[in-house]
């Protein structure tokens, strides 16, 4: 079984001028954590991951683990402020511009190995061909389905 046999060809994507706020709304509507960012020629520019947006909105002392537990704070005004400042910016500011990518003829095993290399919060593997043109996506669920048989 190859990547092209399990990938989703009609993937939801966002264009580079899309703002982080718009992307967050799309993620909420579609219940997706990751969105590929592609230009008008379907060239893959990066992957936008919800947790990376969240990390940017968190103060570093929380996101970097200096203060791992903030249960004592009912709410953090600074988080909402930082998120508010982040929302009007284009997604290219937060996306990962160099995500690991599969090729259509890569094996499922190779795809699983690639997705294991991504941060633990990213569950999406773009499949590209030629000059980085997005032809589909493979989610962790597609790999689980394949392994489960």
């Amino acid at each position: 079984m190859k990547a092209q046999d399990i990938m989703i060809r009609q993937a939801h994507t966002i264009p580079p001028p899309c703002t982080i706020g718009e992307a967050l709304r799309k993620m909420a509507d579609l219940r997706l954590q990751d969105l590929p960012v592609v230009d008008e020629k379907k060239m893959l520019l990066g992957i936008l991951n919800f947790w990376q947006i969240l990390e940017r909105a968190m103060p570093p002392y929380i996101s970097q683990g200096d203060l791992p537990d903030v249960r004592f704070a009912p709410d953090l005004s600074q988080f909402h402020e930082r998120l508010g400042e982040l929302k009007p910016n284009p997604v290219t500011q937060v996306m990962n511009p160099h995500p690991p990518c599969a090729r259509p003829d890569d094996s499922v095993l190779a795809c699983a190995a690639l997705i294991m290399k991504t941060p633990k919060t990213v569950y999406l593997l773009p499949v590209v061909e030629g000059d980085h043109q997005l032809v589909g996506i493979i989610s962790a669920w597609d790999i689980i389905k394949e392994i489960a048989g």
Partner: protein, 448 residues
């Protein structure tokens, strides 16, 4: 003074070889190019390899009371920090100040000082500084003054007890001075030095610190009890810490050394936290908790003790002590104050641990001279208090003066709060001088 075991090494006297190893090791440690534990161990290996000391002599030179006390306290703190008590105390302190920025600065400094008196300074600031950043963010104030005050409080609080700062641990271990002696002789001046520092901080920062009522309300909405992550663990930690502190207080009467008490306490707490686990789980847990010990510090100490023993063995330190006494004309007051000021200035610039390790045998050889000259033993012991005050408070003088300073600076920089050498020096050095002046007056009035 000991006789050197061999006459010459490669044509050089052991004194020159040991001195060269000491200077070279300290120079490389100061350069901070290589890990200090590696450098100290290589220096120690050179001391043995060149025949200055035999391996047995070198091993005897390691002060296992210091090593045991440090290791025991590191294990105790490593376990205790997991229960969230430090965050609880920091938030409680901020709420006690009713969200007032200056009140929070004072309260957080007090918490840091008290914790640093009983725990190692690095752990204390590592746990208090992130909460401070969050509080400052919520108040929308510059966190720099709060963090600056905490650095100062950490080094000053550490001065107050035998277990507060490594120089005190080393001094306590090398002498017959008890935990209570340290509290009686150093805590009063540490409290005065801490309080006095707050006055210039008020004029520099406090006067202009302001937070809106809404921001203060956000701090008051914090639920400090939610910071306690494990109530069962907290109870165990409080029980064992109380026993350990009681042990330190009674150490002299029950004839136990601080290392035995700290390691005994660590073993008891390890037993309590692994009691309900099966053998395999307990093994993993103990392995992880032993991993909390800062082995770099422990091996650094081992290496230093051997290097300093090598130099002591050749008689160099005795010669320097004699030379110092000739410089001060054997005047006890001048010698004491010289030790205080030189220790403070040098500790502000270089690591105070190697400095204190070198000073201890020197002061030990000075004591009999003063006693023979008629100085009572209790008064002669003032030399130790001078060394402790200088070495501990000196760490406040520069950004590189103490490990806690660098830790706070690192956390602050990661969070976009610049902590640079010169701006820090401009405020910290005069404050350190103020604290040493206070110490001078204290020593002069109480002992001289």
């Amino acid at each position: 003074m000991h006789e050197a075991s061999i006459q010459t090494i490669f044509g050089f006297s052991p004194l020159w070889v040991a001195t060269s190893i000491l200077i070279l090791t300290y120079a490389v440690i100061i350069a901070e190019r290589f890990n200090r534990a590696i450098v100290a161990l290589l220096g120690a290996a050179a001391v043995i390899g060149t025949g200055v000391l035999t391996q047995n002599q070198a091993i005897q030179g390691i002060d296992f009371n210091t090593i045991g006390l440090l290791t025991g306290m590191m294990i105790l703190v490593g376990i205790t920090k997991e229960c969230g008590i430090f965050q609880f105390l920091a938030i409680k302190a901020a709420k006690a100040a009713k969200g007032s920025p200056w009140g929070i600065l004072v309260m957080l400094s007090m918490v840091t000082a008290v914790l640093s008196a009983f725990l190692d300074n690095v752990t204390t600031v590592l746990l208090v500084a992130p909460v401070t950043l969050l509080i400052a963010d919520e108040l929308k104030i510059n966190p720099y003054p709060l963090l600056f005050a905490e650095i100062n409080a950490s080094n000053t609080g550490g001065t107050a007890t035998l277990i507060g700062d490594p120089p005190n641990i080393m001094i306590g271990s090398a002498t017959s001075l008890t935990f209570n002696d340290f509290v009686i002789h150093l805590a009063p001046v540490a409290i005065v030095a801490f309080s006095a520092t707050l006055i210039p901080l008020w004029f520099m920062y406090g006067k202009t610190m302001f937070a809106s009522p809404e921001a203060r309300a956000r701090i008051m909405a914090f639920k400090e009890y939610e910071a306690i992550r494990d109530v069962g663990l907290l109870k165990h930690c409080l029980l064992v810490f109380s026993l350990v502190i009681l042990g330190f207080i009674l150490a002299h009467s029950i004839g136990m050394e601080p290392a035995t008490i700290a390691l005994g306490g660590a073993a008891l707490l390890l037993l309590l936290v692994t009691f309900s686990l099966d053998n395999e789980q307990a093994g993993h847990k103990v392995h992880a908790l032993f991993g909390q010990v800062e082995w770099i510090t422990i091996f650094f100490f081992c290496g230093l003790f051997i290097i300093v023993t090598g130099v002591e063995h050749t008689g160099l330190l005795q010669s320097i002590a004699d030379w110092t006494l000739s410089l001060t004309a054997g005047n006890f007051m001048v010698t004491t104050l010289a030790i205080l000021w030189v220790s403070a200035i040098l500790s502000a610039i270089v690591d105070n641990i190697p400095f204190v390790a070198t000073m201890i045998p020197m002061i030990k050889s000075m004591l009999p001279v003063f006693q023979q000259a008629g100085t009572p033993l209790e008064q002669a012991e003032t030399l130790w208090w001078a060394l402790s005050l200088g070495a501990c408070l000196g760490g406040n003088g520069t950004l590189v003066g103490a490990s806690a300073n660098l830790i706070v600076a690192g956390i602050a920089e990661r969070n976009g709060v610049p902590f640079r050498f010169l701006p820090f020096l401009k405020v910290a050095f005069p404050l350190m001088i103020l604290q040493i002046l206070i110490s001078t007056v204290y020593i002069w009035m109480r002992y001289l």
